[in-house]
Amino acid sequence: MRRRLPPSLLIGGALVALVVVVALLSLVWTPADPYNVVVPDRFQGTSLRHLLGTDQFGRDELSRIMAAARNTLEVGIVTIVIAFVIGVPVGALAAYYRGPLEEVAMRGADVLLAFPAILLAMLFAAVFRPSTLTAMAAIGIAFVPVFARVVRGAGLQVMEMDYVTAARTFGSRGWWILIRHLLPNVSSVLIVQATIAFAVAILAEAALSYLGLGTPPPAASWGRMLSESQNYLYQAPLLALWPGIAIALSVLGFNLLGDGLRDLLDPKLVERLPAPG
């Protein structure tokens, strides 16, 4: 029973795989040390020694792009984990218990949604020092209501299904129904939401770093590299291009992957083979 995979899934998957491979590779090998400052070598153009040239401190641009890929993935994963761990249980419980619990949870989500992530990031940066961690926490918390709502919405639908009533007639208790019936049936929606959120998280981290609210120097981050290159736009315009391309490709990759997964997992769009027998 093979289906044709949607092209967006293949392209998105390839782009995401590229980012992951580069990030993993940077753990063991980069063309040069991404943190090695060689002042005489600053603003070198592309050459065989520095494939993407060097930045204002003479650091190898390609190595920094690679190191930043790791940072980007970390940010994406940690924010999604934060949003998942808080948002999914809240949404699932709201869908299951309804009533006042649902009201409180969903109004809470509304309030959180009203806060821009940037404001949250500034708050964290003011209270603690700005770091990748504060950025991740801010973006993660900003995603909590998104996940809570998605799970609640899909969960409400699941709770109306006969198999939930059927599970009750077989004596299954609440938490069991939550884990065995509600969560597995909303998982496809969750997977899609997570990939899309991943793309948004990458963009948000780049934006926060660009504003100086995210990854502090000298650590490599695409957003920070972009913002720093701005000062030297006339001397070395390509320095803005590389992190820009990296951000664009990875965001595009995760978005396409999300779209592709939705096409693949959405039963309404899938032609099912007729049941045998």
Binding site: R98, D162, T165, A166, T169, F170, G171, S172, P184, P276
Partner: protein, 319 residues
């Protein structure tokens, strides 16, 4: 005969309206009782109320006595212990009553894990036997299948296997064959019949299909407008219906053995009124050919001839 379940003055409110309006009956242990009526007559709500599974916002009053306990007064935990173990239910739609993302085997094993405390492995082995018992071909392979890979009949068999897993005392089957092909219907009914016999269970079969009741059950309850309007043995009710509604239902069955030439299919005039729009008094009086002034008052369920019926002007009497 001992009674397996006694329902006393069961009432279910939907919003401000009573949808089940004082239903009382008892099920003898080991009997098969058919609960018949049109859509909207309150049969499914009655069944859900018995199981303590009324949807959010609905509540039942009255009494549902099982083994000396009032099910309506039990806590959720106590009900969970009974449901699936002593009380089981089979649903109308086998397409939606199975979880689409769980393997058949895991689902059939679920009641056994919940109630019998079996380990996963033992439960799976027992589930395979159950699937074999309900005559699903190649049970070992079907255990690993997902619901959409099974046919409608096989899914309903799997549901029945789940319901009978713990050998319940009472099986409520809510239109178990309505969604199935006619050819499969008979097989499913025969299977239910066999299993109920085998486990010495009591069955309440809810349906609007009269021949199904005639072939499977020994007692009948006829419901209309949230009340029981006639009850008795299958022979009594089907051969000598007393309530005009029962009479009309029986007349509406197209006769297959006679020429229907020049004859229209008979229908009951009018439609079942919406919830809360039943006339006061006898709920059937706006569709009943015999209705008069007296019917403005609700007739009690009283024995006419050989069985009880709730009508001021029973069929075949001069009243």
């Amino acid at each position: 005969m001992a009674e397996a379940l006694r329902v006393e003055d069961l009432r279910v409110r939907v919003g401000g309206v009573e949808a089940v309006r004082g239903v009382s009956f008892e099920l003898e242990a080991g009997s098969r009782t058919g609960l018949i009526g049109e859509s909207g007559s309150g049969k499914t709500l009655t069944a859900l109320a018995l199981m303590g599974l009324l949807p959010e916002g609905l509540s039942a009053t009255g009494g549902v006595l099982y083994a000396g306990r009032d099910l309506l007064a039990l806590s959720d935990d106590e009900l969970c212990e009974l449901r699936g173990d002593r009380l089981a239910m089979v649903f109308q739609e086998p397409m939606t009553a199975l979880n689409p993302v769980m393997r058949i085997g895991d689902q059939v094993a679920e009641p056994l894990t919940v109630h019998r405390g079996l380990r996963h492995r033992q439960a799976l082995a027992a589930a395979t036997e159950l699937l074999d018992r309900v005559r699903i071909p190649d049970p070992a392979e079907k255990m690993r299948s997902y619901p959409h890979q099974l046919s409608g009949g096989q899914r309903q068999r799997a549901m029945i296997a789940m319901a009978m897993a713990c050998s319940p005392d009472l099986l409520v089957a809510d239109e178990p064959t309505t969604a199935l092909d006619v050819t499969v219907q008979a097989q499913i009914l025969r299977l239910l019949d066999e299993l109920v016999d085998e486990h010495g269970a009591t069955m309440l079969l809810i349906t609007h299909d009269l021949p199904v009741v005639a072939s499977t059950c020994d007692r009948v309850l006829v419901m209309y407008g949230g009340r029981i309007v006639e009850t008795g043995s299958v022979g009594e009710v089907f051969d000598r219906p007393r309530h005009p509604y029962t009479q009309a239902l029986l007349d509406a069955i197209p006769p297959l053995d006679r020429e229907v030439e020049g004859r229209h299919l008979r229908a009951i005039p009018g439609a079942v009124p919406g919830l809360g729009q039943f006339p006061p008094g006898c709920p059937f009086r706006n569709r009943c050919p015999k209705a008069d002034q007296r019917c403005a008052e609700m007739p009690p369920l009283a024995v006419v001839g050989d069985h009880p019926t709730a009508c001021w002007h029973p069929v075949g009497s001069d009243r």
